[in-house]
Symmetry: C2
Subunit: 121 residues, 2 copies
Amino acid sequence: MDALRPRQKLWIERNGRLALSTYRVDLLERVAEHGSLAQAADALGLSYRRAWGKVKELEANLGIPLVRSEVGGAGGGHTTLTPEATAFLEAYRAYESRMQEHLATEFEALFASVVAARTRS
Amino acid sequence: MDALRPRQKLWIERNGRLALSTYRVDLLERVAEHGSLAQAADALGLSYRRAWGKVKELEANLGIPLVRSEVGGAGGGHTTLTPEATAFLEAYRAYESRMQEHLATEFEALFASVVAARTRS
């Protein structure tokens, strides 16, 4: 429809504080993928300290543990997501996907006639 | 559902540039309300220059005239919205309202079980 594109940003708050967002979900998914917060931070161009801060902030704001770290061992440290974190991430991606569909559908439904009128004029 | 609250920010782009947003819609609605860009700017705590810049930027990015100004006359200058602007604002508010409903419905549907599990643990 013309060159107009609907955009949205989604996030979740708890008691007025950021509890989850697409960017934070990206970070946590990288942790799951790499088994390492350091590598997840690298992948997003964040310092380890900053990534760690973001995860701890989310844990405090969501009120649940999101990551588990095992220090040392044969391969060095290892960080995994908790089952609660995995459940939240899955719900978030499904939610985001449904909202993206609604965005396209509602935009088309509500702006099509306006844009057509504009193009004719 | 717990204290978690879904949030969203909506906007529209054209050729990668901001063409409409909730904040811009607020500004244009104030213009319609007051019949004056200066008063609309005041109501939002913006300088006239800044408000004027925002309107002109939107006109360029949307590709349509949004306001009409009449200089002078008995009561001084007067600014009104064009019919195209009014049509866009109406579509935007309807769109925003539908998206807000979807936000609540999808959040409830997708996060209810996750939050319940968290609360039990």
